[in-house]
Symmetry: C2
Subunit: 351 residues, 2 copies
Amino acid sequence: MRAARYYARHDIRIEDIAEPVLLPGTVMVQVAWCGICGTDLHEYLDGPIFVPAHGHPQPISHEDAPVTLGHEFSGTITAVGDGVTALHVGENVVIEPYIIGPGVDTGPGHEYQLSPDMNFIGLGGRGGGLSEKVVVEQRWVHPIGDIPLDAAALIEPLAVGHHAWVRSGAVAGDTAVVGGAGPIGLLLAAVLKAQGITVIVSEVSEARKAIAVRTGVADHVLDPTLVDVGAEVRKLTEGRGADVGFECSSVDAVLDMLLETVKPAGVVVNVSIWGHRPAVDMQKLVLKEIDLRGTIAYANDHPATIKLVQDGKVRLEPFITGRIDLGDLIRDGFDALIEHKDTEVKILVHP
Amino acid sequence: MRAARYYARHDIRIEDIAEPVLLPGTVMVQVAWCGICGTDLHEYLDGPIFVPAHGHPQPISHEDAPVTLGHEFSGTITAVGDGVTALHVGENVVIEPYIIGPGVDTGPGHEYQLSPDMNFIGLGGRGGGLSEKVVVEQRWVHPIGDIPLDAAALIEPLAVGHHAWVRSGAVAGDTAVVGGAGPIGLLLAAVLKAQGITVIVSEVSEARKAIAVRTGVADHVLDPTLVDVGAEVRKLTEGRGADVGFECSSVDAVLDMLLETVKPAGVVVNVSIWGHRPAVDMQKLVLKEIDLRGTIAYANDHPATIKLVQDGKVRLEPFITGRIDLGDLIRDGFDALIEHKDTEVKILVHP
C-alpha cells in the first residue's frame, strides 16, 4: 500500500509498504482523509522532533525512522481483531492517535497524555493516516456516526482545542482572548464559541483575520499592530479584562499581551509549541495572581469533541482549504502550507 | 514622635513628625517591633517602587514621598476611635498593612489584594511601623493574644508564605520544593511544614543552607551546585517528582529547576518579585501541563497565620537575627542586611 514515510528532515518519501497486520484487540481502518498538522511541518523543516531518528527507537513502539506520517485522520473499519466487540466493520471512525506505555490507566479522569514516553501514531511509529490502511488498538478508535469523513479528519486538532478549553476552566458567559488565528487558534475559538464563551481573536495577518471573520468563530477580531488589545478588551468587558487567554502563536509579544489583557486572578493557557524560551513578564503574573497553564494534546476529550460536531455546534467544513492526493503530498501539501501559511488552514490528503 | 521617612533612593531619614490623629473606625497602635523587609531594601537601593515619588501621590492615600516606612509590625492598642467595638485599649495586635480603595469588598473570599491601586501601609502612605505610633482602620488590625510582640512582627511575612501555600493547593502528604531560602522562602517552608507537607529546600548559600537546617523547616536541603535537584527529588518521591514548587529567588535557573522538578500536572507558585523578565522553558510547562501561578501578599490569610503561631505549629523566634533601635536603622538595619544578606534573616527595629 502507499504511505508517506519520514526518513529525515526534508526527506519524506511516498513508498509502497506492506499492509499492517490485524492483531487481537485492534481494528483495521481504511483511511479516508488525513490532515497535515503544523507538527508534521515542524518535523519536515526542523525535525526529527517527535519522530524517533534512525537508530533511536521510540521506547514504546520500538520503531525508528523511517516511520509513516499522519495523525489527523478519519476512515472506515474494514476488519476487527479478536476480542473487539464494540466496533464493527463498515463503521466510520476517527483515531485518538496515542502511543502510550503498557500499564498506563487510560480511563476517564486519567491524565494519560502526561505518561512517560508518550508519543503519537503517525509520528512515533504504529503507522499513520498518510497511508491507505492503519491498524489501531480499539481503545483509540472513536465512532463518528454520520459526520462526513472529510470534516472528521479535523476532529483531532479540534480535540486539542477542546482540551485547551478544559484546562482554562472557562464557562459560558466568560470572555476569552485567542492570541493567533492559525489552525489550532481557529479550532479552539470554535470550541469556545460552542461553549457560549465570547471570543476575541488577536491576529496580525490580514488573511487569517479574514478567516476568523468568515468562519464565524470570533465575536471580535483585533489587530495588535493597529489597536491596544488590552485596552480594547477592557472596553469590551466593562473594564474587567478577559477571563482567560490562549497563547496560540509562540510569539513573546502575544504571551505578554495575554498577561496584560486577562483580569486579576485570570488564566492564560499556553497552547503553542515553543522553539525558543520567551522572556516572560513575571511581575504581571505575580501582581495579578495569574495562572499560566500548559496544555498538551487531549485526554478523554474525543467523545465530547465528536458530540460538538454531531450536534452542529462546531462546523468543520469552513476550515478545509484544500484536498489533495497522497502522491502530491510534498508539492501541494507541505510546500503549499509553507508558502501560503496565512491563507491555508487545513489541507486534507486522500491516500 | 520618631519615624523613618523615605525621601528617595538612598535617602531615608529618622525625623520627628507629628503623631497621627485618631479617626472614627480606627485605632492608635504603639509600635513594639517592626521588621525590615526585602521590599524596604529594594526601595532603598532601587526605589521608589511601591513608594509614591514626590509629586506623584498614591491614588488611594493621596500621599507622596516622604512617607513613613515599615509594614511588618506589631504593637499595642493605646486608643480606639468612635465605632470601634471589637478592639480594645491594651490589646496586642499585628497589622495587615493594606491601602485598599473605597468600595472594594475586603470580606472572606474576596481577592482584595488584586484591587486597583492596591498599596501597603509603610510604603504607600498612612504611616508605618518604623515610627512610634500609627493609626490604622480597624479592618486591618488583628489581635494576637499572648504571642510575644517580637515574634509577632514576623506574622506579616509569614502571611505571605501562607498565601503562597494557599495558591499552591498543596495538602498534607505532598512534597514541596522551595527554591531559595531567603526570609520569605524560610517562612513559607515553615508554613508548609506546619501543614504536614514534606519540604525540600534548594539553596546555594552555605549560610542559608545552615539556617534552613537550624530552624527545622526543611526535611531535606539540596544544593543545586552540588547535586541534580530534579534527580534527587525524584529519588525522594519514588520517581514521581514534587507536587509543588515555590520560586523564592528570582533566579532564572531556579524557576527552570522547579519546572523540571515538579511532577506532570504539578504546580509552580512564583513568590518572588522579579527585576527582569526570565527566559521560561515553556516546553516543560506545556509537555507536563504545569500550572505556573503568581501570588502576591495575602487576602484573609492573617487569622489562619496567627493561629499557626498560637498553636505552636510555627515558631518564629529562630528567624529573628537582630534587634536594633530606630536610630540605628540605616547602619545596623539596611546596611547590615545588604552586607550580611546570607546570614541575617529578620532584623527587628524598636521605635
